[in-house]
């Protein structure tokens, strides 16, 4: 049987090297081709997971405590698939984007390849130290991409991002050190039964706190969100899209993994409620701030802050005693993750096109966009539908599942938050749309844009919208154990 796992690690690395060798600003075509190959591999892998269930993969053939293990299950499959489905159109988009605007293009391709490689290895890793390395990889690649724009604002944002991500991974590594010190292993497969069977030690608790705090910092959950908007709002549009759609999700994925697998014996209902509370605060505060922005990309970036909040609602909902409620909370959380990734990528891409065309990142200048770039505006609107959680989008399915879980678990507070959040997101999405329907601001001339900028974004938005119809497959993959 052909096993795509090692190739999914080696190939993106190889593309990264080759694009670097190819020279400045070159190699886009190679990346597109490479991503297509990887997408096929991911699909094969997903099929294998559905057929045969989750599996461990021992790198070097050494196996758990000694070597590094990889672990691939339904959730991994979803994340990998999501990564490639989002990245492929974005890469096509980026080629067009950088052909019309050179700023930040110089090392975009190798950085992106390594970013995707980092994502792949992160999702598959089952070894907490290895995860640390992948976290650093992801962080450095993302910082490099953010800073590539080269303006003072983006460099400041990149530094802030870098320091935050370093602080986060430092705290994480401290947790790893404590766990290794106490249990003598860094492999999840070894640690999990150890934590579950032995009595809870203070070291494990502290480690859990440190690791989760570090990851929360990287995920930009509410009080830690300060770094995200400038970083995501200041980067070139393809980069913003990649970061907001995928990179944030990577650390969330790890929280999910650690919370429900490794630290399952340690977590308490109060902690889950706390996370949920922070998530709720993120939804409300992020949406309000998004609404207050005057710059389009900042608005989209703050919307990411808000949307991340939804993801964290799944923690309190999962504590529900009713098994059905817990299950649909998990499903809802994952659907939200997937839907948001697709929609946010589309939204940032669309915002990028608009900014490129208007020449300036200002919502007030968007008037007339509805007739100048109808497709892009339509893309923005479709993505907005997913963010608002309106049918038939994937976001709607996610919200349905989450509300269902909250209602059947009797946790009414979260229902109110989600409903309010949906309305608030409508407020900021329509703030943009209504501006676009107004007549153009006097004196502004829109630059024409390449067609290839508009279509990939539209494709992403369409996928996010139609995801609602194919969510059974996603959930099937999630459920494959």
């Amino acid at each position: 049987m052909f096993d795509p796992v090692p190739w999914l690690i080696l190939l993106p690395l190889a593309w990264g090297c080759l694009t670097f060798l190819a020279g400045i600003g070159r190699g886009g075509r190679l990346v597109v081709a490479g991503l297509i190959i990887q997408l096929v591999l991911t699909i094969i892998l997903a099929r294998q997971i559905v057929m045969e269930g989750a599996r461990h993969y021992a790198v070097g053939g050494w196996g758990a405590p000694l070597g590094v293990d990889l672990y691939v299950d339904g959730l991994t499959g979803i994340m990998l698939l999501l990564t490639h489905v989002v990245a492929l159109p974005l890469v096509v988009y980026a080629r067009a984007y950088f052909s019309s605007q050179a700023e930040g293009a110089s090392y975009f391709w190798p950085l992106t390849c390594f970013l995707l490689a980092a994502m792949n290895v992160l999702f598959m890793s089952a070894d907490i130290f290895n995860i640390y390395v992948t976290l650093e990889l992801l962080g450095l690649a993302a910082v490099g991409l953010v800073a590539a724009a080269g303006s003072a604002g983006s460099v400041t944002a990149a530094i802030r991002y870098l320091l935050v991500t370093l602080l986060g991974s430092g705290a994480y590594l401290m947790g790893v050190a404590l766990l290794y010190g106490t249990y003598g292993s860094v492999s999840l497969a070894v640690l999990e039964p150890l934590l579950a069977t032995t009595e809870i030690s203070a070291a494990a608790c502290l480690a859990a706190m440190l690791m989760l705090a570090g990851l929360l910092l990287k995920t930009a959950l509410f009080p830690f969100h300060f770094w995200l908007p400038p970083a995501h709002g200041g980067a070139p549009a393809p980069v913003s899209a990649l970061l907001s759609a995928l990179v944030i999700k990577a650390s969330f994925y790890l929280i999910l993994r650690l919370w429900f697998d490794l630290f399952a014996p340690l977590v308490t209902t109060q902690a889950a409620q706390l996370l949920g509370g922070l998530g709720a605060a993120a939804i409300l505060w992020g949406s309000i701030l998004a609404f207050n922005q005057t710059r389009l990309k900042m608005l989209v970036a703050y919307s990411t802050v808000a949307q991340i909040g939804y993801l964290f609602l799944l923690f309190p909902l999962m504590t529900s005693a009713i098994p059905g409620a817990a299950e649909s909370a998990m499903q809802g959380g994952v659907m939200q993750l997937v839907a948001h990734a697709l929609a946010k990528a589309a939204m940032f891409a669309a915002a990028g096109v608009m900014v490129l065309s208007a020449g300036k990142d200002d919502i007030a200048l968007l008037g007339g966009m509805s007739s100048h770039l109808p497709l892009t505006l339509f893309t923005f609107a479709l993505a907005g539908i997913t963010l608002m959680g309106l049918p038939p989008s994937g976001g709607f399915i996610a919200k349905w599942l989450l509300i269902d879980s909250a209602v059947s678990g009797g946790q009414w507070g979260w229902v109110v938050v989600m409903i309010l959040g949906g309305l608030l997101s409508a407020a900021y999405v329509f703030k943009v749309l209504r501006q676009a329907f107004l007549p153009p601001v006097a004196g502004i001339k829109f630059k024409p844009v390449i067609r290839m900028l508009e279509w990939p974004a539209f494709l992403l938005a369409l996928i996010s919208l139609l995801l609602g119809f194919r969510s059974v497959e996603v959930l099937n993959l999630l459920g494959a154990a």
């Binding site: 049918p391 509300i403 209504r434 119809f469």
Partner: protein
């Protein structure tokens, strides 16, 4: 999957696909766009005709698709659905014709017709939804696809109206969603079935079911413009006339009213709703809306605003009929869904004609327009009489059954209220007719745009639709007892709902 299962999908696609293509057409491809639009509309009418025939011959058209393991997207063409589908498809066809004429030469037509088609698709989806989930999906789609139509003109006023529209409908949708999810949590599946599914729960859930009912009605009431939630509707007048026509006659308000019909009859079941004491409060709200809308209509000088308040009042007839326990009330309410649609669209077409041809927007400017535009004015008059409930018109039939229903349900105050409302209707329509026909026309019209071409008083495509609908208004009244009238169908529906 057999053809019968796919048919509902085809009905949806017949407007969705042209809509999508049109959306990406360049502005200049007028002929292709028109062809697509009309092909879609005619195709849809044909398909619906086939289904009407089929339903009469006991065929069933059901399409199911699992969105989630225990959540289905269901399209079902039952009698009630077909009633609404036929109405919307027919009126869509006419409105499309009208809109082609109306928008000739104006910008952004691709966008307009794209969203126009989406809007109809959503309406058809609402009509054919086989369960509450599907209903909600298309109910929200309707909101989204109508927003661009409302703000189509792109003026500050239009945008403001659009904002108000969104605030109301999205908030309503959110409340609606909460109710739906709750109900799904209790029932597992909420398929529309005759007699209702909630009844299976039993009386120990009374309190919960009452709250859910409140949530559902509050959500639907926004679109149906029940009184405290009606604020968006007069604002939305800013939209182009075909949009207003569609919004008022078929799409938005009717979706709300239709949803209430579905909730009362096929989710709760009329008898169960009666036992839960849900009907009386709804009847009171509907009555208040009827009176309030009529009263407000009296004071409007803007023609379209007056028609809008009239809509608020008239749509609640439907809801009132629904709350009257007994077949007659049901028939009265449901048939008014169709009748009001036909009549109101006529009125809006005519209002659009006056505005487009003569530049008339206000009632005070309408003096003598009847002689300048006789055909339009005749259509307008017929529809207005229908609204008042004059004999020989469709409106008469509705009122007749409503009053019967009120008597059967032993709610005498309702028949008094209906009478009063009829008088109010007369009070706000008769002055218009008086101005049309009996006051001399001024020397020059405000801004006469479309010169009379040949023997037509206005653009042909603007004239045909109102005349046709006015004729149908009369026809539905005169031939109410034949097998093809709306009344006949509604009786069919009512029979099923009151089956033991």
């Amino acid at each position: 999957m057999n053809f019968n299962g796919i048919l509902p999908l085809l009905v949806l696609a017949s407007s969705l696909v042209p809509g999508m293509i049109i959306f990406f057409l360049p502005e200049s491809r007028i002929r292709l766009r028109t062809t697509l639009n009309l092909t879609g509309a005619i195709l849809k009418l044909l398909l619906i005709g086939y289904m009407l025939w089929g339903v009469q011959h006991d065929q069933s058209y059901v399409f199911r698709y699992n969105v989630l393991p225990d959540l289905e997207l269901v399209f079902k063409a039952d009698a009630l659905a077909l009633l609404f589908v036929t109405l919307s498809a027919a009126l869509w066809f006419l409105t499309t014709l009208y809109a082609i004429g109306y928008l000739e030469g104006s910008p952004h037509r691709s966008r307009f017709f794209g969203f126009f088609s989406f809007c109809v698709t959503a309406t058809v989806g609402v009509a054919m939804a086989g369960n509450l989930f599907t209903f909600f999906v298309f109910y929200e789609l309707l909101t989204l696809s109508t927003y661009p139509l409302v703000v189509h003109r792109g003026t500050e006023a239009a945008i403001r109206a659009g904002n108000i529209y969104l605030v109301y409908t999205l908030a309503g949708g959110a409340v609606f969603l909460t109710g739906i999810v709750w109900l799904y949590g209790l029932l597992g599946q909420v398929e529309f079935t005759h007699g209702g599914v909630a009844a299976t729960l039993g009386l120990e859930y009374t309190a919960q079911l009452q709250v859910i009912f409140l949530l559902l009605i509050a959500g639907l009431g926004v679109k149906a413009a029940l009184v405290p939630l009606h604020g968006w509707l007069p604002q939305a007048m800013i939209a182009p006339a075909p949009v207003s026509a569609l919004l008022h006659a078929v799409a938005v308000v009717k979706a709300g009213a239709f949803g209430i019909i579905r909730i009362v009859y096929e989710v709760y079941g009329i008898e169960f709703a009666q036992t839960l004491n849900l009907l009386m409060p709804l009847a009171i709200v509907a009555s208040i809306t009827i009176i309030w809308g009529s009263l407000r209509a009296l004071w409007q000088d803007d023609l379209k605003r007056r028609l809008a308040y009239s809509t608020i009042s008239q749509v609640s007839y439907i809801i009132l009929g629904v709350t009257l326990f007994g077949p007659a009330g049901t028939i009265g309410g449901v048939v008014h869904l169709v009748h009001q649609g036909i009549m109101k669209i006529t009125l809006f077409f005519c209002a659009g004609n006056y505005a487009e041809t003569l530049g008339i927007h206000k009632i005070s400017e309408m003096n003598g327009a009847g002689r300048r535009m006789p055909w339009t004015s005749i259509a307008f008059s017929v529809a207005a009489f229908g609204m008042m409930g004059a004999p020989l018109t469709a409106g008469y039939i509705s009122k007749l059954y409503l009053i019967q229903g009120a008597e059967m349900a032993e709610m005498v105050w309702v028949s008094w209220m209906l009478t009063a409302s009829g008088l109010l209707n007369a009070a706000y329509f008769l002055p218009i007719l008086y101005r049309l026909w009996f006051i001399n026309q001024p020397q020059t019209w405000l801004q006469e745009r479309i010169r009379a071409q040949g023997r037509w008083e206005t653009h042909g495509l603007l004239l045909i639709p109102p005349v046709v609908t006015a004729a149908v208004t009369l026809g539905a009244g005169i031939f109410a007892d034949t097998g093809w009238s709306p009344l006949f169908w509604v009786k069919l529906v009512a029979e099923m709902e009151y089956l033991p």
